[in-house]
């Protein structure tokens, strides 16, 4: 480490680190969980899509799901993106 580093803030994330973290989430998601998601995850996602499509036209990636774990609490986080013109 050079002496100039003293003046640099160390806790600032580089943009490459941000990119990596975001990619790890999408890749784990596509791969059906990367070991972290329950086995029913992909099927649940498909079922939710099917239900949604009774009412609105959405693409294959409209339903994003994540499991958040905090201690022994598990939260299923569901993110549904509607198309822009879905309100009429």
């Amino acid at each position: 480490m050079g002496w100039l580093d003293v003046f640099r803030s160390n806790d600032k994330k580089t943009s490459a680190q941000t990119a990596k973290e975001r990619l790890q989430v999408v890749v784990a998601h596509r791969r059906g969980g990367g070991g972290d998601h329950p086995a029913y995850f992909p099927q649940l996602q498909q079922d939710l899509l099917a239900v949604l499509r009774k009412y609105v036209q959405v693409g294959d990636d409209a339903v994003q799901m994540e499991i958040e774990r905090e201690g022994d609490l598990e939260v299923l986080e569901l993110n549904i993106t509607l198309p822009e013109d879905s309100r009429h």
Binding site: T14, L23, V27
Partner: protein, 268 residues
Amino acid sequence: MAKIIVVTSGKGGVGKTTTAASFAAGLAMRGNKTVVIDFDVGLRNLDLIMGCERRVVFDFINVISGEANLKQALIRDKRHENLYILAASQTRDKDALNQEGVERTLNKLAEDFDYIICDSPAGIETGAIMAMYFADEALVVTNPEVSSVRDSDRVLGMLSSKTKRAKEGGEPVKEHLVVTRYAANRVGKGEMLSLDDINDILGIPLLGVIPESEKVLNASNSGTPVAMEDNADAGQAYLDLVARFLGENRPMRFTEAKKKFLDRLMGR
């Protein structure tokens, strides 16, 4: 028996054709009889990169439809007697590629060649699937950039579900990561994903790293695969990649930023 290798990526413009041309050239330079096929029907470019655009009379689609035979359509490289190219059609649409026709052509080529390199079009549709369908191995070309890495992951998903090997439940297609347009100085500054980052995310073995290099554009201007150029960093990187593919142990090069004098002084 010939080995079929697809050069694929999902995302467009990441360096598939550049890689297919130099990979094929490198294999041929090492004494392997090699043919490189352009699967980008309607948008052919491999002929330009290989410098044989004025010698294309018949193309891959002519062969599939029976309008020409392979002997008529194969173009022999003027620099290396082991290297051949099969051009894509400029006029037809991608529906002209049918699975039986592709299989028939590949089988015929396999009688004669050691390596068959398939240059895939971008995207995840028919053309890309056709290019990977019969592959034994795959070079997944990725730039250190978010959308390219994500698309490579999708392509990995296709290799393990949409190929002949996947459908017939045989041994899976062997996957190799090729990182191209790597700018080591930007990686050093934390502005661009590093090799380790990409490796961590995609989890397939790294076959080679090709630096971002102006030599690539120069080579394409003159219709020479960059691997055939002397003193081109990107060309050397492709030759290393070929050597590794053939089982040699070669350390990665061009992965460290060149340090500026002032940086060295300050120990950065």
